[in-house]
Every structure is written in C-alpha cells, then in structure tokens.
C-alpha cells in the first residue's frame, strides 16, 4: 500500500483548494471524496459570492481569511481560467437606525482591511441600481465583491491539482480512521489509504471524521438555505450584489448575481438536525420572495426557473482551522460556512503553513503548472468567436441544450474532463440548467454520457448510484 504524505478528506472547494496549494510542493497527496463527483456536498449549493469581507467581526478568523481570500482568488481565477467578475456589493439602509448600523459595519470592515468602502446616497442608488426599492435611503458600497461559479472553481482547481500530481478518489466514504506508527490508516468504502498527515475538510461531516480520531469538541449543525434562481431574461435585475442589513444568523436574503447570468434570490437560514435534508418549502419561497421584494419590488415569482437548498456546516461563530495536538499530524478544517468560498484560497495557504509548522517539509517542485487552459463556453462568447470555433470543430455548432446554448462538443469535453453524472454535466456546462429544466436535452446528454463512459443508458444517474434517470429499456421492463 502506498503511503501518501497528506490525505485530504472532502473534495469541496476547501479540500480541492488545499490539494491544489499543496501540489506546489514535492508531496504525495490523496484527495478523498465520498460522493460520485467533486463539489457534490456543501459547495454545489454555494451562492458563488466572493465577499469583500464586510459583515464579519474584526477579530474573527473568517473575517481575516475572507479579506485575504478575496485578494487571492483574482490570481487563482486567472490562472485556472475560471470567470471571476468584480461586481461590487451594496448593503442597503431603509431608515435612520439602519444608517447607524451601516456606519458600524463600515468601521468594522475597515478594521479588517476591506478596501474601497464608501457610503452612497439616494441619488447614487437611483442612478446605479435603478430597480432598487425607492424607499432605500443609502447604502454601503463595497467595490471588491465579486461572483464566481462555485462548482467550476472546484472542478478547475481539481483538474489543475491532478495535473500537478494530486490523486483524487471518489466514491470513497470514510468508515473509520486509526493512527498507528506515525501513520493514519483511513479505511474507506473504496480502499484503505495510508498517510502521514491528515486534513479534515469533510464539510457537514467534519465532526464525525474528527470524532473517529477522538476529537469531539465541536459539532457541525446544518443551517439550511433555500435559494431560488430566476430566468436569464432577468439578468439585468440588479447591477450589484444587494444585501439587507445582516441578522445574527445570516447575511439575510440577498439579490445575487451569478456567474451564469441568472439572478438568484435567497438564502433562508434555518437551523436543522438532518445533514441530508435538502428539501425546499413553500414557507421558504414565501419568505425569500417577501424579503427580496423589500430590496427589489418588481421581482416576479413567475420568473423562478429553479430552486435548491444547501446546508451550511456551522460549528459555532467562526471557522475551526487548527492542528490537533492530541492527535499529531491531524488538521481540522471545520465549520467553514460563509464566507468559506471566498476564504478558500487563504485557508489553503494557512493549512500549508500549519503543516509546515508541524514538520512537513514543503519543498517546491521544479515545475508547478499554475495555469490551465480556460474551458470554452459558448454562452459567454460573442457569435463571431462562436463562428471561428465551429469552423475549427463542427461539434460546436451541434447545440444540445438550447435554453443555455450548450454544444455537443462542450458536453463531450466535460465528460472527458471528469463529469460522470447528469448533475456533473449540468454544473460544468449549464446544460439542463435553463428554463426547460432538461425537458429537451436530457435524452441527448444521457446518450453522450453513456457513449463516453461506456455505460449502458440505464446506468446513467443524476448524481450517483441510486439516482438512475431511467429504470429500464425495451425488453428490460420485467427485469
């Protein structure tokens, strides 16, 4: 059995960021994921906001990492060819009391080092955010806020990490872990892994992983957020990310611009028990609509084309990122709720430093491939470029998903780059993510997946075993 220098449990944005950061060094790294594909846990239901660092207490770890991460993500997104757009955010005040609160937020954010903050008045708001509720009196404008596709970031981080030598294992659910002779033995549903260091980035299940090594001093409490995606036709609904004043448990219901163009409204914030409860509700919808309309009154529920619920892995108020002295070589990266996506590159650097402090030799590789070729998406390029692409490869003109304009070529490429499921194709390409919800393109995508992965059509799943799309074929019905 091969011994890895570092094993990372959990291939969401935290696990893949750490893996990619560590792949700069001469290390054998294993990234272990229980799901069929990467980013299928907490990361897939992320809002995709790169926060500027506002709405965090000045002394908090998450506040510092958020500000650092916001700076780092720009370079990383360029290196990986993931689209990052700096759209800026507005926290909106509706009355005199709100203004006091805004000023307090501004001061706290400035202590954290958030750049460029300013209070904008009613005139500014009317000019720069025309659909905003006219009752708004002023806003806190943070220019460094941005948006990114959370899953494409994970997939591209992972692809780059693999190029730099990281080994990724999916469908490997950790059953138990033991520590003997300076090694961790990680017994999973796929295989037994051995590593010198172990990083726990298991998201909602980080407490259970930690518990396997006797560290039981934190609990992950899922906090559910329901989000509602609007039709792309409404892409101009808002020009910035729009926030109300934050509450104690969340940043509130927001108007979110997304990297895909569809505006999104949400999320709710509800503490629940079940780590697998991703259901949405009428009450969630009503709450989100009511709160979102307070910001932009013209929002119409008829424009909702999709919705989902995600669970934030909450462990107290701040992140838990530490080396466990009781279990040398074990690093917990837990409770990474908002602003975890923004902080992820800074968390990765922090984890590398913690490993170094605990005597892992970080020797730089002679060649680290920092760059990857940007993935082509027809929906984000002008038609003149599309024309050139089609000339180069006919399959770019073979449109499979007409709502989002995704070609057979893009879908095939996505599968060749690692998509194994319908959701994996959707997250990478946007095929099935539009207004018809896959009614027109499902059959072709199933066929492409089956062909590329050499799987029977009946074996194609939505997101892994048990979620097969069809249950039989001609002559198979009575099987």
């Amino acid at each position: 059995m091969k011994t890895h220098d570092v094993a990372i449990i959990g291939a969401g944005v935290i696990g893949t960021s750490i893996a990619r950061e560590l792949s700069r060094y001469k290390l054998d790294i294993a990234l272990i994921e229980k799901e069929e594909e990467l980013a299928f846990g907490v990361s897939k239901s992320n809002s995709g906001i790169i926060h500027p660092g506002t709405q965090n207490p000045p002394g908090s770890m998450k506040g510092c990492l958020c500000v650092q991460g916001n700076a780092l993500i720009r370079k990383i997104s360029k290196e990986l060819g993931v689209d990052f757009k700096e759209v800026g955010e507005l926290i909106v005040a509706f009355n005199e009391d709100d203004i006091k609160e805004l000023l307090r937020l501004k001061k706290e954010a400035e202590l954290l080092g958030v750049p460029g903050l300013r209070i904008v008045d009613k005139d500014w708001l009317e000019k720069n955010e025309p659909n905003l509720n006219s009752v708004a009196v002023c806003g806190l404008y943070a220019p460094t806020a941005g948006i990114i596709s959370p899953y494409r970031l994970v997939y591209d981080l992972a692809e780059n990490a693999v190029r730099n030598g990281v080994e990724i294992f999916t469908k490997a659910k950790v059953i138990n872990i033991s520590r003997a002779d300076k090694y961790f033995e990680i017994n999973t549903s796929l295989d037994l892994f051995k590593s010198r260091y172990l990083v726990n980035a298991a998201g909602l299940f980080a407490d259970e992983i930690s518990g396997m090594l006797g560290i039981n001093d934190f609990k992950i409490k899922p906090r559910k957020g329901e989000e509602f995606i609007l039709d792309k036709k409404k892409a101009d609904l808002a020009r910035h990310l729009i926030f109300p004043l934050p509450s104690k448990v969340s940043k509130g219901v927001l108007i979110i611009k997304t990297a895909d163009g569809n505006p999104m409204i949400g999320p709710t914030a509800e503490d629940i028990e079940d780590k697998e409860d991703f259901s949405t509700s009428d009450s969630g919808l009503n709450k989100v609509l009511m709160s979102a309309r307070r910001l932009i009154p013209s929002i119409n529920d008829k424009d909702i084309i999709a919705y989902f619920a995600g669970l934030r892995p909450v462990a107290g108020d701040d992140f838990i990122i530490r080396h466990e002295e009781k279990c040398p070589g074990f690093i917990n990266v837990a409770g990474i709720q908002s602003p975890g996506l923004t902080a992820s590159p800074a968390i990765a650097v922090l984890v590398a430093n913690i490993l170094k402090k605990n005597e892992l030799a970080l020797k730089k590789k002679l060649i680290f491939h920092a760059h990857r070729k940007k993935t082509m998406h027809l929906f984000e390029i002008p038609l003149t470029k599309t024309q050139a692409l089609i000339k180069k490869d006919h399959a770019y003109g073979d449109i499979v998903c007409r709502c989002e304009m995704v070609s057979a070529k893009e879908i095939r490429d996505a599968v060749r780059r690692g998509a194994k499921t319908m959701d994996g194709v959707k997250f990478r390409t946007r095929a099935q993510a539009g207004r018809c919800h896959g009614s027109f393109c499902t059959t072709r995508i199933i066929k492409i997946l089956a062909e590329e992965t050499q799987t029977p059509l009946t074996g194609i799943t939505k997101r892994g075993r048990g979620s097969e799309i069809v249950r039989g074929g001609r002559g198979l019905i009575n099987d």
């Binding site: 949405t280 909702i304 084309i305 599309t386 319908m422 939505k462 048990g466 799309i469 039989g472 019905i477």
Partner: protein
C-alpha cells in the same frame, strides 16, 4: 450576408404548413430552419392516434400526420430545409442567425415566420415542496424516452395535472407494464380532451383525484413517494386530507408555455394575433396553445399566405409593407 425571401423557424406542423402555403401563394425562395435532425416536431413522438380527423377526415398517428407534410415539403424544391439548425439571434430588421454542425449563418429575410412551438411547465414553475431527486419528468420528456429512445423512465407513476400529454402518457406507461398509481389534478375537472379522459384513463381504470395537489415530494436519490392533499377553491390544502402514495416517478403535465424567447430578444411585441414588426409573423403553439394539430395547420396556412402577400408587396415599387399589418389576423 445571404438574402432570402422567407425564413421559417421551426419544422413542426406549423412551420411546414406555413412553408407549403407560402409557396402556394407565390413565394419561391423559402428556408425552413429546424433544430432537430428531422422535420415533424413533437408529432414524431406522438405515436398515438387521433390526429387529422378534422383536416384530413382520417384518423392518423402523429408521425403519419407529420409525414403527409414532410412529403409535400420534400416535393417543393423552392423550400430548402436546414436541419440540426438552431436560431440564436433574431433582429427586428429581419436578420436571423443560426448555428448548425460546422456552420454559423446569418440571413437577411424579407419576411420571417416564427413557428417555434411551446415547452412544458416544469415542477419548478408550479413550485412543489420537497426534495429534487431523479424521477421527475415533464410528460413530454417521458414520451420521448419511451417512444423514441425505447427507455422506460419508471415503474410506479404519479401524473401531476391532467393535460392531454399527461393523460396519454398514463395510458402509454400502463401499456408498457408500469403501474400508474394516480393522476392528481388541482382543478375540479380535466384540462385535457374528453376523449383522452375516456380512452386513456377510464378504459384503463387509472384513479384520478380532482381538487387534489401534491403537497410534497420525498426521496433522496430517486423519487420514493409523494404526499397528496385535497384543496379548497383557492387551491389551499384542506387540513386532515393528507395521504401518501409510493411511487418512483412523477410526470408533470401542468400546462404549456409558448417558446417566444427569440421574439422577446428581438424586442418584438406580441399584441393579440399581431407582432409589432411588419414582416415578422407567428403561427402554431408559439402564438397560442392549441388542442388539435388540425387547427394549427389551418391557421399556419394563413400565416404563410400573409407572409407571401408581404413579400409580394415589397416587390411592387411604391408600396409599403407596413400597410399590410403584421402578424396573424
């Protein structure tokens, strides 16, 4: 830029009838753009009978009905058909761009007929609480999977809504050996044709629950069950009426929406039966949702004729096309 007299978007029954009619009314340069690999549109997956009773005075299947027009179109050399071609841009000055394998083409037309059909409302649009597992299909997608691909989407079926496609699919699943456990309709009567209620539902003893709705969908990876409740006149749940049905598949048949994204993108307004741009016409399900294809054919013939008149007027010096009035009358 290539110039054409008439471009028709959509090669289903509406587009084909419009093309034939335009030709018969004197247009000699017609391009019919279809995104699928064959003409006929949604008729190709409608293998049941009931088509053509009014127009052909015969009972035909969907593919048979489509075939009559495909033959006609094929026999008119003045109609050029471009398959696997998807229109990505329409401008109010009648410039249209489409992609096909290996090509992007931009065409300036004298007249355009949009015959883009419709799509089905999804579970997301009617908002049903619960999880989002595999096993939730629009009735039309299920129809395509069974009739075109030879795949069975599921074995224990709940149909939501009693639109015609839902009723027809209830029978189709039964014939394929699956068990249709219930049709759940929020209204107090069917939205579909009476004949479909009799031939697809009553003849197969499929239970229908009127004044009921799905309250919640359950299942982590695949649909496992639904809870159903009775509703009052405002479609609100009547307390105490909740019950559960085990199933692995949910078919949505809750209505159709005209596909007018291109028209909207062009900034063309639809006002009743007219468009705001002279020379841009619409026909078929993208204009309004029809019960029967026979009426689609009939109205689309009119659209073809109107387009022909517009083009003819353009050819005559001194005339103004916009005296024509745009759109279907």
């Amino acid at each position: 830029m290539i110039k054409r007299d008439l471009v028709i978007v959509g090669g289903g029954p509406a587009g084909m009838a419009a093309a034939v009619s335009a030709y018969e009314n004197g247009v000699k340069d017609i391009l019919l753009v279809e995104r699928d690999q064959y003409l006929g549109g949604i008729l190709n997956q409608c293998v049941h009978t009931g088509f053509g009773i009014n127009y052909f005075k015969e009972i035909l299947t969907g593919p048979e009905y489509a075939d009559r027009f495909i033959e006609k179109v094929k026999n008119i050399p003045e109609i050029e058909v471009s398959l696997k071609s998807i229109v990505v841009s329409l401008m109010p000055d009648k410039i249209i761009t489409f992609l096909k394998p290996g090509r992007l083409e931009t065409i300036k037309a004298k007249a355009i007929i949009m015959a883009t059909g419709c799509r089905e409302k999804t579970r997301e649009m009617v908002h049903i609480q619960g999880t989002r597992p595999a096993g939730i299909f629009s009735a039309g997608l299920a129809q395509k999977l069974i009739n075109i691909e030879g795949l069975l989407p599921g074995k224990e079926i709940i149909v939501v809504g009693s639109g015609d496609i839902g009723l027809i699919m209830a029978r189709r699943f039964t014939l394929e050996g699956a068990k249709v456990k219930a049709i759940i309709e929020i209204q107090k009567e069917t939205r579909g044709l009476l004949r479909n209620m009799v031939q697809c539902v009553e003849d197969f003893n499929i239970p229908v629950y009127f004044n009921h709705k799905i309250s919640r969908i359950y299942g982590k990876d695949r649909v496992e069950k639904v809870s159903v409740c009775k509703v009052d006149d405002n479609f609100n749940e009547i307390s105490g009426s909740l019950f559960e049905i085990k199933c692995d598949t949910i078919l949505m048949s809750v209505g159709l929406i005209p596909e007018n994204e291109l028209i909207e993108m062009a900034g063309v307004r639809i006002d009743g039966n007219k468009t705001s741009v002279p020379g841009i016409f619409m026909c078929g399900n993208c204009l309004k949702i029809y019960d029967l294809v026979d009426w689609v054919t009939q109205d689309s013939f009119l659209a073809g004729k109107l387009a022909a008149t517009t083009i003819e007027l353009l050819l005559k010096p001194g005339s103004h096309s916009n005296t024509m009035g745009a759109g279907l009358q």
